[in-house]
Structure formats: structure tokens, C-alpha cells
């Protein structure tokens, strides 16, 4: 059985180490926060906050306190606030240890596409280009194939890029792959998924 959304998030949480400052994208990456266990992880929200807390209790929403997805959130005792240029100083400056992001396509050279489909509604890249250019480690969490069953793990991206050669590790419903010299290396497969199945769903070059 391939991993479901929560299992993918739990696997991604294993990438995080005690003391890390981390930025989580929208979607499955947001769920990673539920699986960090006893590790002291500080979540950065690029609209200007370190130490993001959970959603507020009903009636305690504060319009001045939102995350990068514009959702109401809460602060923690360790929270700090800052402006957008300071926020991206820590992102671009390599102070954020890791970003966990969703993707439309990833290529074997680490190219990432996750912001634009030409001819469709274009909303913008937000902070994604800055994050992938700047943080210590970029981990992509996504389904291995799209809804038509086509691989999202490619030799070359077909969509406009968010970043070139930026992805370090890919976690999909079928397993975990690292971007290495010459292509992707299989780190592990999801429980019940064979290496052959993972290879069959992957268009990228797999190296041993």
C-alpha cells in the first residue's frame, strides 16, 4: 500500500532534527507539524513570524495574527515577529534549516516546478522561489503521479521552474528519493511498495 497523506507527512517529519528552524508549505507539508513528536522544532511563517503555534480556539481568532496561508494561528512563548524583509533575510541567508514543500513536478537534476501552469489561472509564486533558493535543505512532499497517472518525477520539468537544481530529497506516496550526481537514488520504498513499482512510476533516471 502506498503511503497516505498523513503517512507521507510522518515520513517527512523524520527529516527534522531537534532545534531546527523550518518552513512548511501549504497542503501535506502543513501536516508535518503533527508528527514532530518530542523534537523542538521552530516553524517559520514567511509573512513575519518564528514560533508558529496551532490554530486558535473559536472566538480567540486575531486578525493581526495569521500564517503565510492567511489562516488565523496563535503564538508561543518563544515567538518573535519581524517584517517581510527580515523574514526573507533569514530565508535567503540560509538560516532556515529546511523547507518542506509540495510540487507539481520535480526533475532528476533537482529542478522544481510548483507555481505556474501556463494557460491556467496564475496566482503567483509567493515566497516559494526565495525559499528554495535560500534554505539549507529542500524536501518535496507530493504524490508520485498526477491524477492522470502520469509521473511527476521527471527527467526534465515541463512547467515553468520555481528553482533550478534546488531539491535535495523527494518524499512521495511510493517512497523516498534523493537527488544525487547523475539522477535520483532510491532511499526507501513505502511499506508494501516494491522498488520495481517505484521505478515504473518514475521517468527520472535512477542511479544506484
Amino acid at each position: 500500500m502506498p503511503w497516505d497523506r498523513n503517512q507521507m507527512a510522518a515520513r517527512a517529519a523524520q527529516e527534522l532534527e531537534d532545534g531546527m528552524y523550518v518552513n512548511l508549505g501549504i497542503g501535506i507539508p502543513t501536516l508535518v507539524a503533527n508528527y514532530v513528536g518530542d523534537k523542538e522544532i521552530t516553524l517559520q511563517s514567511e509573512n513575519g513570524m518564528l514560533g508558529m503555534g496551532p490554530f486558535p480556539f473559536e472566538g480567540e481568532e486575531d486578525p493581526d495574527l495569521i500564517n503565510a496561508g492567511k489562516q488565523t494561528i496563535t503564538e508561543l512563548p518563544k515567538t518573535s515577529y519581524f517584517d517581510s524583509s527580515m523574514s526573507f533575510a533569514m530565508i535567503r541567508g540560509g538560516k532556515i534549516a529546511a523547507a518542506i514543500l509540495g510540487a507539481m513536478e520535480v526533475a532528476e537534476n533537482g529542478d522544481l516546478a510548483n507555481w505556474m501552469i501556463p494557460g491556467k489561472l496564475v496566482k503567483g509564486m509567493g515566497g516559494a522561489m526565495d525559499l528554495v533558493a535560500g534554505v539549507g535543505r529542500v524536501i518535496v512532499v507530493m504524490d508520485h503521479t498526477n491524477k492522470h497517472g502520469e509521473s511527476k518525477v521527471l527527467k526534465e520539468c515541463t512547467l515553468p521552474l520555481t528553482g533550478k537544481g534546488v531539491v535535495d530529497r523527494i518524499i512521495t506516496n511510493l517512497g523516498v528519493l534523493d537527488v544525487v550526481e547523475g539522477g535520483l537514488r532510491i532511499v526507501e520504498t513505502a511499506e508494501g511498495v516494491t522498488e520495481e513499482e517505484l521505478r515504473a512510476a518514475t521517468l527520472a533516471t535512477i542511479v544506484d
Binding site: F57, E61, D64, I66, K70, D83, S85, D130
Partner: protein, 234 residues
């Protein structure tokens, strides 16, 4: 010099002209200069170029200036919350320059700091880099981005003293300080005006030198995505 004005319209008096460039603070609907936007709608000023991370939502925030077709061009990182925006953009009525969020913030900060350009690795190898100078530093490619020098900044803070020293509240700070810095004139709206000395000088987020006109008013502070948890989960 008197910085405190009685209303948003008074504070903008003599500052607006067609075709001008404006830097606006706010992220989504958080920390946006609601009152100054309303006054700009009233003024009828048009052909605006606005640097702002987002463009409000339909009928609120900068979305109001879209409804009245006062905006010619947006410089933003994310505009997905606004149907009228998409309609005007797809029909060619509205120009859009996408900037990565951190690049937009730094372009404002740089403009305000007297820095006309800087190199960043954000966007290298993407459409954002097209037409921009590439320079190699320490073996890595960077692209040249230009500082933003706006005619006017419209921003929102929590509290200011009468000299413009101000503090922001929580994530409503966001783009407000860099947007405030990059305008020739900065007009700020706040929830409370206090006397000099009432704010701790060590706790000022933006010194009054960047702020030229101040107004106080009531803010709606609309919430874009209301997310909550149940008490039992605590």
C-alpha cells in the same frame, strides 16, 4: 512640523496624481492601510502602479481600487484571492509584474535605504531572471534586482507617537516597514496615537523619520481564512 492629520483624505491632500507609483503595506488583508485605500478610491486618482504583496480580495482592500479601475499595474507575489483581478488581467486591462515575495520586500527596503540594485539568487534559472543581469559571486549565479522608489507609501501600524515613531502588532507588521521606507512621502494609519515618550524608545519598530503624515481611525480588519481548533483537542 505637524504630522498628525484629521482624516485619510486630509493626509493624502496634495500627494496624489495620475500615473503615480505607490508602495502599500500588508500581507493578504492583514495590516493593510484600509482607510487610506478608501480615501484613494474617493479621490479618483488613476493609472496607478502599486507595489504590494497582494491585491486584496473582491470588494476589500486594494480590491476596491480594482473595482473602480484605478490601477494600471500591480507588482506583487501572489494575487490568487481576487476574481476581478483575474478578469482585468486576462482581458489585458491590468498589467502584472510578479516578484518573488522576498525580492519584493528587499526591493522596497533597498529603495528606502538608497540602494538602487542588489544581487539575489532567488529566481535564478526561472522566468523571473529573464532580461536581468546575471553575476557570479563565489561560484554561484545571482540576478540583479532593482530597488523600488515609490512616489508615495501607504502603510498601517498599531500605535504611533505624534512624531511618527511606531510599533506594529504581531504579523500585521509584514510589508509595512519596507513599504514605508521606499516612498518619497509616507502616510501611515494607526489604531492609536500617543504622545512622545509613551512608546519605549528601545521598542520602536520604525523610527518616525520614515513617516510624514499620520492618521488614526477604526479598522475593520477582515479575516481571510478563519481557522480554529476545538477546545476538546487541547
Amino acid at each position: 512640523m505637524k504630522k498628525v492629520y484629521g482624516s485619510a483624505a486630509e493626509a493624502l491632500d496634495g500627494l496624489l496624481f495620475d500615473g503615480m507609483t505607490i508602495a502599500a503595506g500588508g500581507f493578504g488583508l492583514c495590516g493593510i492601510p484600509e482607510l487610506l485605500i478608501d480615501a484613494m478610491v474617493e479621490s479618483g486618482v488613476k493609472d496607478l502602479t502599486i507595489a504590494s504583496n497582494n491585491c486584496g480580495v473582491d470588494g476589500f482592500g486594494l480590491g476596491k481600487l480594482l473595482d473602480t479601475k484605478q490601477i494600471k499595474k500591480m507588482m506583487s507575489s501572489y494575487v490568487g484571492e481576487n476574481a476581478e483581478f483575474m478578469r482585468q488581467y486576462l482581458s489585458g486591462e491590468l498589467e502584472l509584474e510578479f516578484n518573488p515575495q522576498g525580492t519584493l520586500a528587499e526591493r522596497m527596503r533597498a529603495g528606502g535605504a538608497g540602494i538602487p540594485g542588489f544581487y539575489t539568487k532567488t529566481g535564478v534559472g526561472t522566468v523571473v531572471a529573464e532580461g536581468k543581469e546575471v553575476k557570479t559571486f563565489r561560484g554561484e549565479d545571482y540576478i540583479l534586482e532593482e530597488g523600488i522608489f515609490a512616489d508615495l507609501s501607504i502603510v498601517k501600524a498599531w500605535k504611533a507617537d505624534t512624531t511618527g515613531n511606531c510599533v506594529f502588532r504581531k504579523t500585521a507588521r509584514n510589508f509595512n516597514p519596507p513599504a514605508a521606507m521606499c516612498g518619497k512621502i509616507c502616510v501611515m494609519e494607526v489604531e492609536e496615537i500617543v504622545q512622545p515618550g509613551e512608546l519605549d524608545p528601545d521598542h520602536i519598530h520604525l523610527p518616525g523619520i520614515f513617516v510624514h503624515r499620520i492618521i488614526k481611525g477604526e479598522h475593520e480588519k477582515r479575516i481571510e481564512q478563519r481557522t480554529v481548533r476545538k477546545r476538546e483537542e487541547a
